[in-house]
Every structure is written in structure tokens, then in C-alpha cells.
């Protein structure tokens, strides 16, 4: 029910992808892809296997460098757009873009708390000397970051896991910690790569609720890749469909569902 209210008056563009082409040798992973994500929305990217969804996410977060096209990110409605292509991943993180990975990328031997503190690394100012002394401003900084991390822990309801090693947690919980780690960055734009892959129904419901809460209460624009169509259609304000590296449709869930090109890509032709 909350969904309908989020669509504020014509939202400005948060992320604009234009004519992006990414090739590995002769393979076009992305071929002239274009889409735009507006501030405050939940935006889903769907498509059959190998359609280039993760490649697109990697291009946004700076892991891949597309040969052509532009990706522009506008941190706030009034701000000037920043080009992302060519920016190293840690520089992308610094402008407020966080992501999670399809295959969990956490430090398995470290506790949940330590992983999350690490997630705030980009905001930390200290160096070897000040951290070694751990006094005055450095101490206050640590406390400030811990407070931010505790806020995320509270938000995602993982209080009971704080001191557990990530590697010992169940898969669904690791996924949640992965989301927490991304949130610890305090992002304005969150990229989630299959946040619900491999989860059971209950875990999916929890995760869906968290994604909506993150979007609504923390005002984070969210781009997610997901295979579960039910989830996508329920969660997203708009959906883009990729097929063989090209964007073939973009619109509200209902529009996309009715699009003949999408039906073709997913189901093939009737003949």
C-alpha cells in the first residue's frame, strides 16, 4: 500500500545510462543500452540468463569499463550529473553508490560487526598514526561510525548476529548482512544483484520488506536485478528488460508485462 505514495511529483533523474556498449573480444555483453533511474524509486533490471544485467551493474559500479556510451549519476535532485565511466570502483562508492553482489562478497572469517565497520571505510579519515593512538578526534570518529553501523543493524534486525562470524551464518542471513554492508556506506543509490537468489519464501518476504523499508525510510534509490518475477512486479516502480545485451523495454511493471518484445524474449514465439 505504501508503494503508490512514493511516486512523488515528476522525479528527477538519478542515473542515466546512454548508448552503453561493452564488449569482451567479439562478444557484445551490452549493446547500446539506455535507461534512466529516477530519484527515490525502486528500479528493477530483468532479463533472461546472459542478458547482460550484471555487466550493466558492474559498468555502473566501475568494475567494468564500457567502450562506448555514458553513465551519468546525479547525487541529489539539484546537483550536477557526474560521469561514472572511467571512475574506479572506490571512487564510485565515494559519490554515494553502494552495491551488493550475487555471490556473497563478505569476509567470512570476520564478524558481522567487523564487516559492517569495514563497509564504512570510505567515510573514515584516520591514518595509521591516529588510529594507533586512538585518542580524541579519532576515538570520536570510531564511535560515530559504530553508531551508524548500529543503526543499520537495528534497521535490518540482525542484533543477534552482531558478534558471529559471517561464514557460520545461514545463506539467507549472509545475504542480509551483504545488504547491511552496502547500507553501512550510507548510499544514495543502492545496486542489488539478485538479493533474493536462493532464498526460501519466508526469507524472500523479509528481504522484500527490507528493500521497501530502505527505499521508503532511508530514501535510497534502489536498482535491483532479480529473477523472481513476482518479487520484481510487486517491489518495483519501474522495470527495464535486457535481452542479449540490448534494452528491449522499460516502463511500469504492467506495461512491461504486456510488452510483446518482452513476451517474445521470455517465452519465444507461438510458432
Amino acid at each position: 500500500m505504501a508503494q503508490t505514495q512514493v511516486q512523488a511529483p515528476p522525479a528527477s533523474t538519478c542515473l542515466e545510462v546512454e548508448g552503453v556498449t561493452l564488449s569482451f573480444g567479439g562478444v557484445h555483453a551490452l549493446d547500446d543500452v539506455a535507461l534512466d533511474v529516477r530519484h527515490g524509486e525502486v528500479f528493477a533490471i530483468i532479463g533472461p540468463n546472459g542478458a547482460g544485467k550484471t555487466s550493466l551493474l558492474n559498468s555502473i559500479s566501475g568494475l567494468y569499463r564500457p567502450q562506448q556510451g555514458s553513465i551519468a549519476y546525479t547525487p541529489a535532485p539539484e546537483a550536477a550529473p557526474l560521469p561514472l565511466i572511467g571512475r574506479a570502483p572506490h571512487k564510485v562508492a565515494q559519490v554515494g553508490i553502494a552495491r551488493s553482489f550475487q555471490n556473497i562478497e563478505l569476509f567470512r572469517g570476520m564478524t558481522v560487526l567487523e564487516n559492517l565497520m569495514l563497509g564504512r571505510h570510505i567515510h573514515m579519515r584516520g591514518n595509521v598514526l591516529t588510529c594507533g593512538l586512538y585518542w580524541g578526534p579519532q576515538r570520536r570518529e570510531e564511535i560515530r561510525h559504530r553508531a551508524a553501523v548500529e543503526d543499520v543493524i537495528d534497521f535490518l534486525e540482525i542484533e543477534n548476529l552482531r558478534h558471529q562470524a559471517v561464514g557460520t551464518l545461514a545463506y539467507g542471513l549472509q545475504k542480509r548482512v551483504e545488504l547491511a554492508r552496502a547500507l553501512a556506506l550510507d548510499p544514495r543509490l543502492l545496486l542489488l544483484d539478485e538479493p533474493m537468489a536462493g532464498m526460501n519464501v519466508e526469507e524472500k518476504e523479509d528481504m522484500a520488506r527490507f528493500i521497501l523499508d530502505v527505499n521508503e525510510e532511508r530514501g535510497v534509490t534502489t536498482v535491483l536485478i532479480e529473477h523472481d518475477m513476482g518479487v520484481v512486479m510487486d517491489l518495483s516502480d519501474r522495470v527495464a528488460v535486457l535481452d542479449f545485451g540490448r534494452s528491449i523495454a522499460c516502463g511500469t511493471p504492467d506495461e512491461v508485462r504486456a510488452d510483446p518484445a518482452v513476451i517474445h524474449a521470455y517465452l519465444g514465439d507461438a510458432e
Binding site: 548500529e150 542484533e159 543477534n160 519466508e202 518476504e205 523499508d213 521508503e216 525510510e217
Partner: protein, 650 residues
């Protein structure tokens, strides 16, 4: 005895006690809640201030004397603030178990005619919204029905459009801004509260039907606290962890009433999942839990010890043996022989001290169990490891306690002797009757049940029991559950169930026998976590609960335990046949009460087919089990449950 009943007029209601504490020790910690990983304290002055604001806010919103404020949620400071604010105005609070399903919440709120509901979070608010139309349509005779829902965890509720939803802090703000116009309103209201006002409506456990609402006055609760404290005094710098539902009289009794009287610090855990950890951090001086919590602790220890190394296991076994000897001697003669005491000292140093530390009971002066019978084996275990665990007996209708063990007079089989101010005697058929200033005023809107339970000032408990030679009360079971076996012996299903439940692999047991049943049988549910671990260690593959429960190895495990029990039982009371249920008993399916008591009759009815099979000749029974999936579709699963026969030779 009577001096106890004379309450000082400036300290005879809970809100008055709150203000007294705020005056006398305003800057000491009253409440502590773990939030964001840190224990955050409120002083008595802050506590009283929040109650004042919330009470004023409620009055601004239209709360009147005699109204009912329902509270539903996990244990948080706001729960008690809401309750005290209602009581300060002369309204009554009604606690609803936080795990109740929407229809149960609806029943209680509708039946009580609550006008305000304080609900913790989105989960609870969603339940109310689910039944909102029915609730709003059910205004009582005076046109009084539910008006406002006040939540204290705004997470996820920001976009709810309903105008009857209010944030707790919003109400406090209304109260604060109303302050300037009427400076001493609040003090006047509190002064006007009288000992005989109804303070709370407490739900009875309802093992047989819909829960009833017992009306407890301030006098009931405050005299109960006085008399409890005269037996086992607590101190104002004690710590207590409030983690059991505040809708339960047990938590109200110590957490709310004794807390206000004595002024110790109440600690609220971070989340239900972190309770164990939080208890350990706080190190409470007193704990009161139903048997389930103590049973879980013992199971946990047993399972972990089995998982540990050979050496640790041997040390534990040796230490426990010594501990048992010392505890038995201590309870029988007051002090163990010198040699045993010495060994026990060693056992304490190498094992018990660390075990208590792990369990979070290192600082415990007194631990209590109540609400249902606790098996003597569990009792003995805790005394062996040096935890002073005692039994309390009482019911919602006597504000929680009428009989208790004294420190130097503990017997595992008994519940102790009457507390000061309470008289206990036995009525017809051994029914336990109680008379004291803490006996309730009656059931809310239920004259008939009141007349049955309350006669000439005596509370007819419905429990059967007897007195032993030392004047200790022994509770057998619910009077209607006590059966006579064919050879004439009295038989209490609960007694045998408790023995079954001592196994860490058994979660619940429902024993049948006596009356129309020719012999004794039992339905047993396994403890999924512990039995699962056991199976894993032996590399026995399993998928679901049903699958695990039907493994021959698990049957063997339970049968072996049952055979041991049978050895201790008189011949006619031995369990002849049993089966392992395909599902856990669940309060949502009405098989347990919200305080996790087995609803025997309901289960006998629901599993009629299984019970019949237990008394039939076959060695298995097929059941069809309808399962509702989350997407609304249902499917019928057929399961074959084996019936096994434990060894019954003595």
C-alpha cells in the same frame, strides 16, 4: 498476618509507588533497555516524567477513569509507561500476548471494550488493521469502542494513512504541551487512585477455552509484592531482566509490582533472539521463569556437553555426580558431609562456576519457577550446579503467588508453604483453596465464572493437591485432569509428561490414561533442534520435522528414555504405547496456550484418530494432513506415523 494488609495510603497503588521512587531516588536507574548495542538507562525521575506526559497525552485524547488501555508488544519501557499512565488516570491496563494471532487480539480487545491500544510496531499494528472493521463496528452499549492505536516503534509505519494511528512520542508531546495549562493535574490524579481500583485485567491461561480476564486491584498487587518480599527480600540495587511476556501475571508480579515496591532496575533485552546473551551481560540477581525456560537451559547444557571434547565431558560428568550428592545432602540435612563439600568446592571451581557464568546465572541469589509444574530432575540439576531454584505456586487470580519454597526448606516434589498473608487449605476432592488480600476482584464481564471461582473470599483454584507431613503443598495437576487408573491409583498426566520432557530430545508430551482409557499412552513431539543435532552427529539424513520424527533411530532414542521412566513408575501408570507426532504443538493452532501449556482436551479432540490408534491394535496410523501454503493453496499430505511400545518391565 494482618499488618501486611495495612498499606500506607501514600504507597498503596502502583502509580503512587512510582512517584515515591521518583522522589526518593530520582537519579537511580529504574529501567534499562539495550538499543543500538548499548544498555541505555532511564532514571526513576525520567520514568515518572514519561508516565506523566503519556498520561496527560491520553487524557487529552479523551481517556477517562475506568476505561481500558490494551497493550500488546515485546517488553520495552513503553509497555510499562503505557500501563502506569493508564493506571495513574484510574484506567485499567490489559496486556495482550504479543504472539497472539489477529483473531485472539480482536477477541480480547472487543470483549474488554478497550478504547486505546498501545501496539509495539508494524507487526502488531498490521494485526489490528486486519480486524479493524470488526473492531470498529463493535462499540459497546455506551458507544464505546476502539478509538486510537498508539505505536512505539515507527519502523515501516510512516506511510500508513490511517488517522487513528499515533506515534507514542506524539502522545507524549501532546502531554508535555498540555502541562503548562494544568500544572499539578498529574499529581492529583495519582493521589486520587485508590487501592481498590482495578489496576489491570490479566488474561488467564485458558487451557480449556477462551481466556478470561481477571480483575486485579492495586491492593491485590501491592500486598502480593509485600508478602513476596517478606519471604525473599530483593534490594534496590538488584538487577532483573524482564524478558517474559508482560501480559503474563508472573512478569507483572516481579517486573511491575515488586519492581515498583523495591525499586530495583528492570532490564529489557534488545530483541527476543538476544535474550540469552543479554541476561548474561546483565547478570540478574533474581529470575522468574516458567518451566520451559529452565528445561531449555538444561537441554542446551546436555546437548553442548555431548558436543564437547572427551576430557570436558568426563570433568562435567564427575562434577555433576558430586553436585548431585552435595545438593541431595544439603536439601535433606542442611549441610553435606565435609568430604562431599570439599569435592563440591573442586567441582564448582572446575565446572559449575563456568557453567553458571555461561548460563548468565552467576549472580543469581534466587531463581523461581512457576506457572506449571517443573520436573524434579530439572530442579535437582540446578541445585547441583549451585543455583538456588525455588518453586512458586499461584495463579493469575491471586496476583501470581500464594505458596513458595523458603530458602532453607526446599523439596523438589512440593511447591512450598503459604506466603505471609495467604491462607491455603484443601477443599472437596483435594481442591486447593486460597484466601488472601491478593485474591482478585472477579472476572471481567463474567459473573458466572466469578461465582464459581470466588466463594466466601476463598479462591477455588481447580487444582488438586495435598499437604505433606511438613505442611508443604503438593500440586498434583488440574483437578479435572487427575484420573483414577484401573487399579485405583491416582494418576496425573502432567507428572509423567514432565518425566518425558526431561529428555533433551522431547519437546512436549501429552499423556492419556485413566477414565475410559484402559492403559497409559502418550503423544510425543521431538525437540527438532536437539534431535536434529543428534541425528547429524550420527550421520542420519533427514529432511523435515515429520521425516526426522519418523526415523527409527529417533524412535529408539525416545523409547529408551521412556523405558527408563517406566522403571520408576507404578505398574499401572507405565506408558504402554506411544507415537511421535508429525508436527510441533503450536499456540497458533490452539494446541498450546500462550503461556505454552498443553491444551489436553483440545489435543485429544483434534488428534482423535491418533489417540484411537494408540488404543487400537495396529503398529502404525495413516493420517491426512492439510497444509496451507503461503500463496493460499492447500495440499493434503499423507503421513504414516508409527506406534511403538516401550519396555514396561520394572
Amino acid at each position: 498476618m494482618t499488618e501486611l494488609l495495612e498499606l500506607r495510603p501514600d504507597a498503596d497503588t502502583l502509580p503512587k509507588l512510582l512517584l515515591r521512587n521518583a522522589r526518593e531516588r530520582g537519579d537511580e536507574a529504574a529501567l534499562r533497555e539495550k538499543e543500538f548495542g548499548i544498555w541505555q538507562s532511564f532514571t526513576w525521575a525520567q520514568y515518572a516524567e514519561r508516565v506523566r506526559n503519556f498520561a496527560r497525552g491520553l487524557v487529552e485524547l479523551g481517556l477517562e477513569r475506568g476505561d481500558i488501555v490494551a497493550v500488546v508488544g515485546d517488553n520495552r519501557p513503553e509497555w510499562l509507561i503505557a500501563q502506569l499512565a493508564a493506571q495513574a488516570v484510574g484506567a485499567r491496563s490489559l496486556g495482550v500476548y504479543q504472539d497472539s494471532v489477529a483473531s485472539e487480539v480482536r477477541y480480547l480487545i472487543e470483549f474488554a471494550g478497550a478504547r486505546f491500544v498501545v501496539a509495539e510496531d508494524q507487526e502488531q499494528v498490521d494485526k489490528l488493521l486486519e480486524v479493524w472493521d470488526e473492531l470498529a463496528g463493535a462499540a459497546d452499549g455506551d458507544g464505546r469502542g476502539i478509538e486510537k492505536v498508539i505505536y512505539y516503534d515507527p519502523r515501516g509505519l510512516g506511510s500508513y494513512p490511517h488517522d487513528f494511528l499515533l506515534d507514542f512520542s506524539e502522545v507524549e508531546k501532546i502531554g508535555r504541551s498540555a502541562t503548562s495549562s494544568a500544572e499539578d493535574d498529574f499529581e492529583r490524579w495519582v493521589e486520587a487512585t485508590a487501592a481498590d481500583d482495578v489496576a489491570l485485567l490479566s488474561t488467564t491461561s485458558g487451557t480449556t477455552g477462551k481466556p478470561k480476564l481477571a480483575m486485579l486491584s492495586h491492593r491485590n498487587l501491592v500486598t502480593m509484592a509485600h508478602s513476596f518480599q517478606s519471604v525473599d527480600p530483593m534490594q534496590s540495587d538488584d538487577e532483573f531482566v524482564s524478558f517474559l511476556p508482560l501480559a503474563w501475571i508472573g512478569e507483572q508480579m516481579i517486573g511491575a509490582a515488586c519492581g515498583l515496591l523495591v525499586g530495583f532496575t528492570l532490564n529489557f533485552p534488545e530483541e527476543p533472539e538476544t535474550v540469552q546473551h543479554d541476561i548474561r551481560e546483565i547478570g540478574p540477581h533474581t529470575m522468574f521463569s516458567p518451566p520451559r525456560i529452565w528445561e531449555n537451559m538444561v537441554s542446551d547444557v546436555q546437548v553442548r556437553i555431548e558436543d564437547s571434547s572427551w576430557l570436558k565431558r568426563k570433568v562435567y560428568e564427575w562434577a555433576l555426580g558430586v553436585g548431585y550428592r552435595a545438593a541431595d545432602a544439603r536439601l535433606e540435612h542442611g549441610a553435606p558431609p565435609r568430604f562431599v563439600a570439599m569435592l563440591n568446592g573442586v567441582a564448582n571451581a572446575v565446572c559449575f562456576f563456568w557453567l553458571r557464568d555461561k548460563l548468565g546465572v552467576r549472580r543469581i541469589r534466587r531463581a523461581y519457577t512457576g506457572g506449571a509444574a517443573l520436573g524434579p530432575d530439572i530442579f535437582r540439576f540446578f541445585h547441583a550446579i549451585g543455583v538456588n531454584l525455588k518453586q512458586i505456586y499461584g495463579q493469575t487470580e491471586v496476583s501470581g503467588i500464594s505458596v513458595a519454597h523458603r530458602d532453607d526448606d526446599i523439596k523438589f516434589q512440593t511447591v512450598g508453604t503459604a506466603v505471609p498473608g495467604a491462607e491455603v487449605r484443601l477443599g472437596e476432592g483435594g481442591e486447593i483453596l486460597t484466601r488472601s488480600a491478593s485474591v482478585f476482584l472477579g472476572y471481567y464481564k463474567n459473573e458466572e465464572a466469578t461465582e464459581e471461582a470466588l466463594r466466601d473470599g476463598w479462591l477455588y483454584s481447580g487444582d488438586a493437591g495435598y499437604m505433606d507431613d511438613d505442611g508443604h503443598l503438593i500440586v498434583i495437576d488440574r483437578k479435572k485432569d487427575v484420573m483414577e487408573l484401573h487399579d485405583g491409583t491416582q494418576f496425573s498426566p502432567q507428572f509423567i509428561e514432565n518425566k518425558l520432557k526431561f529428555s533433551p530430545y522431547v519437546k512436549e508430551a501429552v499423556v492419556f490414561g485413566g477414565g475410559d482409557y484402559p492403559f497409559v499412552t502418550s503423544l510425543v513431539t521431538i525437540d527438532f533442534a536437539n534431535a536434529g543435532k543428534w541425528a547429524e552427529r550420527r550421520q542420519i539424513p533427514y529432511t523435515t520435522f515429520t521425516d526426522l520424527a519418523q526415523k527409527p533411530e529417533i524412535y529408539e532414542l525416545v523409547l529408551e528414555h521412556t523405558a527408563g521412566i517406566n522403571g520408576d513408575l507404578p505398574e499401572s501408570a507405565r506408558i504402554q504405547r506411544l507415537l511421535l507426532l508429525h508436527k510441533e504443538l503450536d499456540a497458533d493452532d490452539e494446541e498450546l496456550t500462550r503461556t505454552r501449556k498443553v491444551r489436553r482436551r483440545f489435543i485429544a479432540d483434534r488428534y482423535r484418530l491418533l489417540v484411537d490408534a494408540l488404543y487400537g491394535g495396529g503398529d502404525a496410523v495413516e493420517i491426512e494432513n492439510e497444509i496451507a501454503y503461503q500463496d493460499g493453496t492447500t495440499a493434503v499430505l499423507e503421513t504414516r506415523l508409527r506406534i511403538a511400545q516401550p519396555a514396561t518391565a520394572g
